[in-house]
Amino acid sequence: MALTDHCDIFASVHEQSFNNIVLQLQAQRPSLFNYGTMTFASHPELLCNQTIIKRIDPEVEVGVFDNPVVSEQPLLAIPGYSGPFGLEYCLQLAELSIDFHPSNVHTLPAALAPPLPEQRFSLKGRACAGLNCPSTDLLIKLAPNERAFSPVIDTGTHRQPARDPAGNPPKDAPLVTQTPTRPFPFNREGIICFCLDLFAVLHLEREGSAAAPIISLRLDNLEIVDIEPVRLENAVECFLKTILIMSVLPKVKLALNALILSVGKVLTIGPTPISAAVPFNPAIENDQIKVFVSLTV
């Protein structure tokens, strides 16, 4: 059977290609995957997940062209503290991979009811985060020396509210009033790292009218592995699912008409219409995404 039995042009991309491209991106544009505050940005060897850092060859490409390994982020502000200090942290997308049906790249968690159904694909992401935790002694030493609290007993005599002679804001003011500019002295032993694995199952769906079909990405299910307690996991998953369905995925829609190309006003190239012979276009099968294209003169 020919690849173009039911179309004029056929193209397929294997999941391995996508996953290799992600690996190349991690190696050649690491700042897309690694985020951190100043110390992490200047010392990528302190990042939590070193697997993707080792994939970079800083001496040759990224290094020679002086590209950043880490996208530098501002210090993490401390709620209720208005001084200059902030916490240092890092965040990494340590792994991102795709698995087209049938599932053979990911081992889906039981919560996603493996095996992967037909015309579905799964995404796996591993996010790692780290916080440089200052010692308690240091925190005490650097904590602001606030005025002692003097309770006022209401004796029925009306008084003006007590004023801070230093001009500090009243207690109902915003929690953070100053962007942190100084990190706590970095404590290599104080880096606390954790990683979360996230799986999502998705599929492509056709919607819209026959005249103006649209391809959209639909989330079937989502699972974050091993967060305790379970209700915290459920809450986080619910939150992420809400973000994806309400905010992210609606934006990932493709009007198929936009894919119809007119070459020199003489040749029209567009997706092959859905039929019994081509029930899915694009189709997700055999570990590939397949696209069927028709030409019209």
Partner: protein, 344 residues
């Protein structure tokens, strides 16, 4: 198993040919001119593909089947640098000892620099047919000039070497009858199609197995025009002469007309003439086409892309993301043309 596959079927190829045919109609005609001794020729030529198909064969070839090329417009402007024709000069008083004492003055029949040109409209009158078979092959070009450069450095370094030019010159230089200057100019003209940066390239070539370009039809109009070409010249030359004296001027122009007839009279069968006289040119063209197709098949790819492939180009100082592509292969079978590769 290849990780990226693209297949194009026979119908798509034919659609592309039809699209090319329509596209050709929108391409402005080409013009040029040249001189050959006393003759000069200018042309304005455009092409229309009016038939033909492309078959993919089980032997792995792309078969162009009877592509009919109609020349429209086809306007030839033939020019002729005429010799001076003088009359007079008769001896009135001969010298009894030899020579002449008195002669009448000579008068030039023409102006200062006699030449003439006539436009010949042969649009839509001549059809030729192209058939041929090609194989599709691919190879990876690795330039010596790249040396030990890493992919990103090779990608951003313009190829300033003469490696491609010299290679082309060597290949073109094997044509036996071409002078060195022609070799160099042909090779140099093709270089810009291939030469870019120092990155490796996957290149795809159409290699000629056989081809045939022949004249298949010429309309009666064209036959008539060609048969009467010398008459058209004569009419053009005599146009300013009053009819009452045309006869005598014709007599004076007999040497010119004889020369014209010798060159431009094609006998009764213009098709035969094109197949013999001009067909010699077509034959030469065919030979040159063979050579060009062969050498272009070795030199100039119909498509090429860098390896590693720049998937995301340079942005705000960041290096491009180059994705290595290996195991590139092309296969032609009865149904389709299949190109495959691995992203590694």
């Amino acid at each position: 198993m290849a990780t990226v596959t693209v297949a194009v079927n026979e119908r798509a190829f034919n659609d592309i040919v039809m699209a090319a045919a329509k596209y050709l109609e929108s391409v402005p005609p080409f013009s040029g001119s040249g001189s050959f001794g006393p003759f000069s020729a200018g042309y304005t030529i455009g092409f229309k593909l009016t038939g033909g198909s492309i078959d993919l064969t089980s032997t792995g070839r792309v078969h162009f089947d009877e592509l009919h090329v109609t020349y429209d417009p086809l306007i030839l402007t033939l020019g002729l640098d005429l010799p001076h024709i003088q009359f007079g000069g008769e001896c009135i008083i001969p010298n009894p000892f030899g020579g002449c004492i008195l002669r009448l003055p000579e008068v030039d029949l023409f102006g200062a620099n006699p030449d003439i040109s006539i436009p010949i409209n042969l649009s839509n009158t001549i059809v030729s047919e192209f058939s041929g078979e090609f194989t599709v092959s691919n190879s990876k070009q690795v330039l010596v000039a790249k040396g030990s450069l890493r992919p990103h450095a090779a990608h951003i370094t313009t190829d300033t070497s003469n490696e491609i030019r010299d290679r082309f010159r060597t290949i073109v230089g094997t044509i036996p009858f071409l002078p060195a200057s022609a070799v160099n100019s042909i090779a140099d003209a093709l270089v810009p199609f291939v030469k870019t940066n120092l990155a490796d390239k996957w290149q795809f070539f159409l290699r000629d197995v056989w081809h045939d370009l022949e004249l298949i039809s010429i309309s009666d109009t064209a036959v008539n025009i060609l048969q009467n070409l010398s008459d058209r010249f004569i009419d053009a030359i005599l146009a300013p002469v009053p009819s009452a004296v045309r006869g005598i001027i014709k007599v004076m122009l007999i040497p010119i007309f004889d020369a014209l007839a010798a060159v431009l009279d094609f006998g009764d069968d213009a098709l035969e003439w094109l197949s013999s006289q001009l067909q010699i040119s077509f034959g030469l063209f065919d030979l040159l086409a063979q050579l060009v197709i062969n050498f272009v098949g070795l030199m100039v790819p119909f498509y090429q892309f860098e390896n590693p492939y720049p998937m995301i180009e340079d942005s705000s100082g960041l290096i491009p993301v180059l994705v290595p592509i290996e195991n590139v292969a092309v296969v032609v079978n009865d149904d389709e043309f299949v190109a495959s590769a691995d992203i590694v």
